[in-house]
């Protein structure tokens, strides 16, 4: 009988995770002590992930499905400044956000974040008065950076730490009017970008894989819920095909040409489980999640490998994590003899 090495030209590797594997590769997982196969998914699907350490909402999320970060949120003071990192299976505590004064309630509620685990950033948030605080994360600790030009709550961060943008949100003080502003972030400071055509808060967007020259914004409240979708080209926002329904508090991931929106709600109905994909032109339905929830930017990943954690379920804040894998995405299968 031919050996694996004779067929593949290389021996079965012992690895800690699937990051470096390719389609069809069999490998040995040292943490779980069993053999794995990296295969291609035949159809999109949501599956359960490791639960967030406790129920929460209103914190930032960024990174990838296998290297994600959750930061801040409510209830206060339990989650005020807490940071947790996800490795694709479990969440572990990291160092707290650097915001001060640390005793302020809801200091990081309704903030937003973007970037990757080793180069992330979070901005705005706070309740009832929103802050302009911006922080950078290096995979270990948070460092205060230049403040947003103005306090912002419940807006969207998108793009990498050195070329990100923050769009929409509210003024941060009652009556917290929805805004159309866009601010561009270079990791150290902010400049003004073009305004959204529709002011909005609690919108969905392109997430960590968006960019300053290709960002996406859809749904939200202005203050009534909207279905409007807009694309940013580095200078201005342009309205494109609308989301299939007016909604807000959706989770999101992806780019301007490959994005998904999930969960959220359409007033006056309950929280939803639906997933909708955008290909840069049209919207289409994808499989639903199992747990309905309102998302507060507590999401991460890409349109082909997204992550939703926590949020506000139909009966209060929740801790459930769900992972979305699009058709054709790589997934890891445990090899068993049964």
């Amino acid at each position: 009988m031919a050996t694996y090495k004779e067929i593949q030209g290389t021996a079965v590797q012992s690895l800690t995770d699937s990051t470096s594997t390719i389609e069809g590769q069999i490998w040995y997982s040292t943490p779980t002590t069993n053999f794995k196969l990296t295969s291609v998914t035949s159809a999109a699907a949501w599956s359960t992930g490791g639960a967030y350490p406790a129920v929460f909402q209103g914190g930032a999320g960024f990174g990838t499905q296998t290297a994600a970060v959750g930061a801040g949120g409510t209830p206060s003071p339990v989650f005020n400044l807490k940071t947790f990192e996800y490795d694709g299976a479990t969440w572990t505590a990291g160092n707290d956000m650097s915001r001060t004064p640390t005793g302020s309630p809801y200091l990081s509620a309704y903030n937003s974040g973007s970037g990757v685990l080793t180069a992330g950033w979070a901005a705005g948030g706070g309740y009832p008065t929103a802050s302009a605080l911006t922080e950078n994360y290096n995979g270990t600790s948070w460092t205060a950076s230049a403040a947003l030009p103005a306090g912002r709550g419940a807006g969207n961060c998108s793009g990498p730490q050195t070329a990100g943008l923050y769009f929409g949100g509210n003024t941060g003080s009652p009556p917290r009017s929805a805004l159309a502003t866009t601010y561009l972030y270079d990791g150290e400071g902010w400049t003004a970008g073009g305004n959204l055509n529709t002011s909005r808060v609690n919108a969905a967007g392109s997430g960590p894989t968006g960019s300053q020259t290709a960002a996406l914004c859809f749904t939200g409240e202005a203050p009534g819920q909207t279905n409007k979708t807009e694309e940013y080209n580095g200078t201005s926002w342009t309205e494109v095909n609308v989301f299939p329904r007016s909604a807000s508090y959706l989770g999101y991931a992806g780019t301007q040409t490959d994005a998904i929106g999930f969960a959220g709600y359409t007033s006056p109905g309950p929280s939803q489980v639906t997933t909708t994909a955008y290909d840069g032109t049209n919207w289409s339905s994808e499989p639903s999640m199992s747990t309905s929830r309102l998302m507060y930017h507590n999401n991460a990943g890409t349109a082909s490998a997204a992550l939703a954690f926590g949020g506000e379920g139909s009966s209060g804040n929740i801790s459930q994590t769900e992972e979305f894998n699009a058709a054709g995405a790589l997934e890891t299968v445990t090899i068993t003899t049964s």
Binding site: A43, A45, W46
Partner: protein, 102 residues
């Protein structure tokens, strides 16, 4: 004939519902009280329930679980100071009753 069946099972996280489960069973919905709704008369769903050590509940038993949880949530809501009941978001309202479907 019922379209759905209910079971109680504790979601342990990764692997509780796998991508394969999700693709073959196609419908999962969670409710309060660790209650799960999956298709009835579905071998894959039955296999999943067994695999997660789920306890099958009749519709009336499942409804009772959700009702009991809802009563607790509504009582907790009613006990809140009026200031905390003011909705920070539109969805921040008193928990509503849920009617499960067959």
């Amino acid at each position: 004939m019922a379209n759905y069946q209910y079971c109680v099972a504790k979601n342990w996280g990764k692997g509780f519902i796998t991508p394969k489960d999700s693709r073959t069973i196609e419908f999962f919905r969670s409710f309060m009280g660790d209650l799960w709704k999956v298709p009835a008369n579905n071998q894959d769903a039955n296999r999943w329930i067994a695999g997660v050590n789920g306890t099958v509940k009749t519709l009336s038993e499942a409804q009772a679980i959700v009702d009991a949880e809802t009563v607790l949530l509504q009582a907790a809501w009613d006990a809140l100071p009026d200031a905390d009941k003011a909705p920070a978001v539109e969805s921040n309202t008193r928990p509503v009753n849920i009617t499960l479907e067959e």
